[in-house]
């Protein structure tokens, strides 16, 4: 019987629930995927729990209805939760162990890992993930497998990704009110990265930007491991807000302009395409037009600024120059026309729009880059289960 995995993403723009199953070949396939517009959420923060609960109930109902229509019954009781928001940050920690017998053994490795995991977080923070980066032996770093290497002091460098406990609890509360238990919260940007990256990209150094509605998460990989991660509190909603302000439109009109007309870079504007018609929200409202160049200028200014913030963040940490495999853009914001070209120009690296590659089931989805986070969360569940199966197999054989 194939294992079922479920993942939930409560985003600023959409609430998404996806269900996946592992097929006979051991590969994960998304069997059902539903998303509905979110309510009560701004900049990835839940401002109204009852509205967020309603969004979750709606997406659960949608999944159940689709399965009913396909002739199968499904009830989702728990799911992984992909989390974003500017309250998430990463900090470096280290665990040390004295090498007793001149060469590093399992005891020292376990001791260093235990020590790294015992670093207390500031009050009010909750750990989302702890990533082992590399080992150092007597100051010599970049060691991925230290067993058998001679030395006197072993150090493990780790990256702790942590979030505001209250924000996580708000999401859990909203889900619990919708009768959905959250099994584990995960960081959205690293989920997206796991879904869209190949191993060689992580080895060569790559930056993943998950541009959501309320915020933009980033995950920077170098030498095969996660070097840094974080969230900037600017997302697609900021572009919409800028458009609404510049042209005095409603949010709905601004969102439509962003999705259907705007470009990330300024281009050539002929007389025929120099204006964009802006239809009113009712038949009584006057139809007017705005300058296409101005629309693109507003979008370009906002995205350029976002890339500048990302660039300066990584430069401060001496990481930008290590992204040899370039930049991969995911999330709903990656659908902006020519955003890869702008990214290339602003960050100085090759850029592509990333689609999930390690699972199946998204072939008919029009914007697969927007499903990167939810795909990554399902992959995490799938891989965790695989590891548990391997372990239980080993123990099973041992105790037979």
């Amino acid at each position: 019987m194939s294992k079922i995995h479920a993942a939930l993403e409560i985003g600023t723009t959409r609430t998404v629930l996806a269900v996946g199953e592992t097929n006979n070949g051991g590969r994960l396939k998304i069997t059902c995927h539903a998303e509905i517009p979110s309510a009560g959420i701004r900049k990835s923060q839940i401002l109204d729990i009852s509205q967020a609960t309603q969004s979750i109930k709606s997406v659960l109902r949608e999944i159940e209805n689709r399965n009913d229509a396909a002739g199968s019954k499904i009830t989702i009781a728990n799911a992984l939760l992909a989390v974003s928001g500017s309250h998430i940050s990463a900090s470096h920690a280290e665990g040390n162990a004295v090498v007793e017998k001149d060469k590093v053994g399992d005891d020292e490795i376990n001791e260093a890992q235990r020590a790294a995991r015992n670093i207390p977080l500031p009050k009010g923070r909750e750990l989302l993930d702890i990533v082992d980066q590399d080992y150092e032996i007597d100051g010599l770093g970049g060691i991925s497998s230290p067993k058998g290497i001679s030395g006197t002091m072993l150090k493990l460098n780790t990256l702790l990704i942590h979030a505001d406990s209250n924000r996580i609890q708000d999401a859990k509360t909203a889900a619990e009110n919708a009768h959905l238990e959250i099994s584990e919260p995960l960081f959205a940007a690293t989920c997206a990265a796991d879904a869209v990256l190949e191993e060689h990209e992580k080895r060569n150094g790559v930056l993943v930007l998950d541009i959501g509605g309320g915020s933009t998460g980033y995950a920077a990989y170098s030498d095969g491991c996660l070097a840094d991660a974080g969230v900037i509190g600017v997302g697609g909603d900021h572009i919409t807000n800028d458009i609404a302000y510049a042209f005095q439109t409603t949010n709905a009109q601004a969102e439509k302009l962003k999705k259907e007309e705007a470009r990330a870079v300024l281009g050539q504007y002929s007389t025929e395409n120099s204006r964009v018609r802006l239809t009113g929200s009712s038949t009584l409202m006057e139809t007017r037009s705005i300058s296409r160049r101005s629309l693109d200028t507003v979008v370009n200014a906002r995205l350029k600024e976002l890339f500048t913030v990302i660039r300066e963040t990584l430069e401060e940490k001496d990481l930008l120059h290590r992204m040899h495999a370039g930049v991969v853009l995911t999330g709903g914001g990656a659908g902006m026309r020519e955003i890869d070209a702008l990214s290339r120009h602003e960050l100085g690296f090759d850029a592509r729009v990333g689609k999930p590659i390690h699972l199946d089931g998204l072939e008919n989805v029009l914007d697969p880059w927007a499903a990167a986070t939810i795909s990554g969360a399902l992959l995490y569940s799938h891989r965790t289960d695989e590891e548990k199966s391997v372990l239980s197999d080993l123990f099973g054989r041992f105790f037979k």
Partner: protein, 366 residues
Amino acid sequence: MTSTSQPILLLGIGTAGTRMARGVSRAFGEGIRCILADTDASSALEGEDFTLLGGDRLSGRGSGGDLVAARLAAEESVAALDPKIEGVRLAVIVTALGGGTGGGATIEILKHLADLGITTLVFATTPFSFEGEDRQRNTRSAMSLIEQESNSVFFIPLDKLVCGEDVMEEAMKRAVDTLAGGVTLLWRLVQKPGYIRLDADRIRRLMVDSGRGRFAFVTVQGPDRAAEAVDSLMRSELLAVASSPVNSILCGVLAGEDLRLSELGRIADGVRDAFGDHVSFELATVNDEKTFCGRICVVVMLFETLVKSGKGPSSGPHRRGRASRDKSTTSPAVDRGRFWNTTPTIWHGENLDVPTFMRRSINLEF
């Protein structure tokens, strides 16, 4: 001290701004250092210190309600103000938003004054609510830029200066005269101080860490005039709506020789009680029997808190002589749009929730 050597300058910009500044000048009498600036040459009257903005570009015909044209005009002509503002430490600017020159030229002049290290305090009226979308849009565009470029700004809705039953021409005149009256009182506090003095440096200290402000004044007479003054101020619509907590208060009391200590105490206590004991409070007085004779005028200026990021001045090119101000972290709720009720995203002192094109002063064609 001659008017040209005073450290405080009154600067009227645009047609309504020049009218207001003229009103202050006349009400105050001799000794006020005043410059008028407009894109419309017909604003000038003989004997005044008038600077025509954008003479080559606009030929003295005015900006025609075009903010961009007014900014360009001011950018071309702003250096002409330099010989006239030697020694100025504080510039009080009066203008009206909604048209082109009031909003557009003011922004460029503020930038120039900041470059020269001059502290700026702006009084800007905003149009009547019925004045139409074009004027409202011009106003919204100008407001956040003026707030960024000035040290403190008081936006005064014209709707709150007049009564709905006024005849149009009278309403406009009354609005202008009312604001001019308030600024005149401020001038008196500085130029003709009584026992408790107010000078340019004290005003500048109050403006540190402030963004927008609120401003109101009342004139009363009678046996309970102190209590009535406090009561009228608390009911004033001009002090009603805040966008940020109050950081500091300036309270000016102008009266004749009959001003009693108990009245002064009653007014000071009343204003302080209304806005919190923790707020920095400055009191100044004017004793002028000839002007006030039995009346008492109370002026209140509330300087609202500027939200700081702690990361230092805003990003962008460094300007020579610019006083360090985290001005760009102030953003009134209206400029953050749909993010008004969320934790702001601050980066190097800038609030990224405010539209980028506004913070970068990017001109858009419509």
